[in-house]
């Protein structure tokens, strides 16, 4: 079985020094990988390369063993299988919860359904199901996103991710601005959702939250510092990773 995602010596140029410098990384189906590193290490850049928003200057990105598609349509089909949870959630405030959930299907839908979604509630059973999986009341479907509480929004963003039916979940510091209880809840949910055949690549700013991950990757100044099972990580490595930097 091919790797879900493989990054082969990825380099992304920056203004003064490369944002990523020859980074290689493999992600297998079912694997949960944590990405650690001080701010400015290149974690967000790596996530952007992984979800296709950023094309690397050098190196190859392979999705399920295939190089990134040339044609626009095929590339969109690849991107549709990669779901990203954004730190600022990026929900569309003016739309209802259901419309937001369905926005995750735009890659699969053509114009007619995309327009219809703005007029009528579409695919209600599927939308209700993802809400229930996240312990949200299906009655929320008709609510505008702007009317939700912080915790509800967090879960709706996750529900949207599920609705996209991705094989790879990416998350760029999703816990950064949350209080400890919400952060722990969200992490548990994410780890749960990332069961096989899905994979998870999540960037973290706190090394104390590594329980539940299979592998941990350390990044500093755009370079890969370590890539190993969580169990074999020793405190000295962490100290070296963050040495002289704001954690």
């Amino acid at each position: 079985m091919p790797s879900l995602l493989s990054l082969e010596s990825i380099t992304v140029r920056g203004r003064t020094q490369p944002r990523l410098d020859g980074v290689s990384l493999q992600l297998e189906p079912g694997e949960r990988v944590a990405l650690l590193g001080p701010s400015g290490a290149g974690k967000s850049t790596l996530i952007a390369v992984a979800n296709g928003l950023l094309a690397p200057d050098h190196g190859q990105v392979r999705w399920q063993g295939e190089p990134r598609a040339r044609s626009r349509r095929a590339r969109r089909r690849q991107q549709a299988r990669i779901g990203t949870l954004w730190q600022d959630l990026r929900l569309i405030e003016e739309l209802t919860v259901q419309q937001n959930l369905n926005a995750a299907r735009l890659a699969a839908w053509g114009w007619p359904r995309a327009l219809l979604n703005l007029l009528l509630p579409l695919d209600t059973p599927a939308c209700a199901e993802v809400l229930q999986r996240l312990d949200l009341d299906p009655a929320l479907l008709n609510q505008p996103v702007s009317a939700l509480s912080g915790g509800q929004r967090q879960r709706v963003a996750l529900a949207r991710l599920l609705r996209q039916e991705p094989l790879l979940l990416l998350a760029d510091e999703p816990l950064a601005s949350l209080d400890p209880r919400l952060a722990a809840d969200l992490l548990t949910l994410l780890l749960e959702l990332a069961g096989p055949p899905r994979g998870l690549l999540l960037s973290l700013h706190r090394p104390d939250l590594l329980t539940g991950f299979d592998r941990v990757v350390g990044l500093r100044d755009g370079r890969l510092v370590f890539d190993q099972p969580c169990a074999s990580l020793d405190p000295g490595q962490l100290e070296a990773l963050y040495a002289g930097a704001e954690p």
């Binding site: 296709g52 569309i92 926005a103 890659a107 007029l119």
Partner: protein, 528 residues
């Protein structure tokens, strides 16, 4: 069933269906060759030094008229705006009532388009350079006054009350409490008015009030397309330079954007601001001297042409319902075309960067090209009538709305759009869902305001027999029918005041944001 925000933005484009269905009926196809020649001439403007000299001279006059008219409108507008502000009257005298009376008085000069002012003044004082300047200054001044007083009356008054209760005299308290928040808004808005003034000065020229517009019309009518394009390209250059300069200043001084939803803080760089203001004064003096503007000449009225005996029976016999219906129809069609086409075109070209550049170019031409000239050009292939006038007005306003929409898309919803792109949503749907959702309300509110402007503007396509109040008015003007003229001007004023009221209501309704970060008062005032 309630359409969601992004759909609202697309709904006005439905007007294309009847328009496209009706177009074959009014086309006569006689002049496609001429239209082809016109388009081909764009690539080979005349390099003749004689043409160039006359175009540059005309452009100078147009720019001068715009600058002087604009400066006059600012002085008038600031003064009258303060004089018609409720909070100023309440603070100074304890009663806000006089503000309401002055506001009502100002509605009349505002309701007439600058072209009407120009043509009326032309009758009174003859062809003088100051006619165009005053024709711009009066309606623009009344408009600036309304914006200034609206802004003043919606500013928070807590600091004003604090100063007053501390014993500060009224003028000092007003200046200290309301001046700083007002200034960036007024400066940003006046920059935008300068762009409008350049367009208006060109338009007035088309009707013979001096400057480049006159030459544009003459070269178009004599089919001298290469000479025409010499003028157009230079005018385009001037307009784009002016827009770029004003945009740069707005960003540099951190002034609020027109469709911006977030309140920006008070402008920085106070010294530069003052210096720029001071530099304007000698510039204005030089321009006035070059154009030989003499304000006193406005007081020397020429003898009016002999007016026929009043015939109010004939006035009453005018086909009023038809005139008004056609004017309203023209306005609605033009507004829907402009409001609907701008987002539609952005969606169509979303995947191609080159398409975006083309659309920008088309919009710049639309802004630059006075609607009566578009109408004349359309007459090569279409019959005169409401639809032809609406197409001409719609194209011009598409240029204005499109640019605004583009500016706003650059600052709203970038993250949402990116998220949809990353999930494979495709560039068009990502634009529609990600960016247009947040823009729908402010954009349509601006569209409502634009419809109000188009109603006033409908007089300018009266030239091509657009069969509304506008064409009847121009006819009355040229046949010296004073009684008809008076009745038509009043009808026009009433209609535009009604339109303004409707548009205000529509805007308020659209800007009642259900969620937090909108500032209706800013969005409602600053981008007129």
């Amino acid at each position: 069933m309630r359409p969601a925000a992004p759909l609202w933005v697309l709904l006005p484009a439905l007007v294309l269906l009847p328009v496209l269905a009706l177009l074959p009926g009014i086309s006569h196809g006689g002049g496609w060759e001429l239209v082809g020649q016109f388009a081909a001439a764009a690539l080979q403007p005349s390099p003749d030094p004689l043409v160039l000299r006359s175009v540059l001279g005309g452009l100078g006059v147009t720019a001068g008229i715009a600058l002087l008219g604009w400066a006059g409108s600012l002085v008038l507008g600031l003064g009258l705006g303060i004089a018609s502000s409720r909070v100023v009257w309440r603070t100074c005298t304890g009663s806000a009532a006089p503000a309401g009376w002055i506001r009502r008085l100002l509605a009349l000069p505002r309701s007439l388009h600058e072209l009407l002012w120009g043509l009326l003044l032309l009758q009174l004082v003859g062809l003088q350079p100051e006619v165009a300047v005053v024709a711009i200054a009066i309606p623009f001044g009344a408009l600036v006054a309304r914006v200034v007083s609206d802004l003043l009356d919606t500013l928070p008054t807590a600091s004003l009350e604090a100063l007053r209760s501390g014993g500060a005299p009224a003028p000092a308290a007003l200046l200290t409490a309301l001046g700083p928040p007002l200034l960036p808004q007024v400066i940003s808005y006046s920059g935008y008015r300068l762009e409008c003034a350049l367009r208006s000065a060109t338009l007035l020229g088309v009707f013979g009030l001096g400057g480049l517009g006159t030459e544009l019309r003459l070269t178009l009518q004599s089919l001298a397309f290469r000479e025409l394009w010499t003028g157009l390209w230079l005018l385009l250059l001037l307009m784009l330079l002016l827009e770029a300069l004003l945009g740069w200043l707005r960003r540099r001084w951190a002034m609020p954007a027109r469709l911006g939803l977030r309140q920006r803080s008070v402008g920085r760089q106070a010294r530069e601001l003052v210096a720029a203001g001071l530099a304007l004064l000698p510039l204005l003096a030089v321009v006035a001297w070059q154009l030989e503007v003499e304000p006193a000449a406005l007081l020397q009225w020429q003898g009016l042409p002999p007016l026929g005996p009043s015939d109010w029976g004939a006035v009453a016999a005018l086909p009023w319902p038809g005139l008004i219906a056609n004017t309203v129809l023209l306005t609605v069609l033009a507004a829907a075309l402009a409001v609907g086409l701008a987002p539609l075109l952005l969606l169509v070209v979303a995947p191609w960067p080159i398409g975006g550049a083309l659309v920008r170019g088309l919009w710049a031409l639309g802004r630059l090209w006075p609607p009566p000239l578009t109408a004349l050009l359309l007459l090569f292939v279409l019959q005169p009538g409401v639809l032809t006038g609406a197409l001409a007005l719609g194209f011009h306003n598409l240029g204005i709305l499109g640019r605004l929409l583009l500016e706003a898309t650059e600052t709203t919803g970038a993250h949402q759009q990116q998220a949809l792109l990353a999930a494979g949503g495709g560039p068009r749907l990502a634009l529609l869902y990600g960016r247009f959702s947040g823009l729908a309300r402010p954009y349509l509110a601006y569209g409502a305001y634009r419809a109000d402007v188009i109603l006033r503007e409908s007089v300018v396509v009266g030239l091509v027999g657009a069969t509304g109040l506008g064409s009847q008015l121009l006819e009355a003007l040229s046949s010296f029918a004073g009684d008809q003229l008076l009745a038509l001007v009043l009808a026009y004023a009433l209609l535009t005041l009604l339109g303004e009221d409707l548009s205000d209501r529509a805007r308020l309704w659209l800007l009642e944001t259900p969620h937090g970060d909108g500032h209706p008062q800013e969005a409602g005032g600053a981008w007129r």
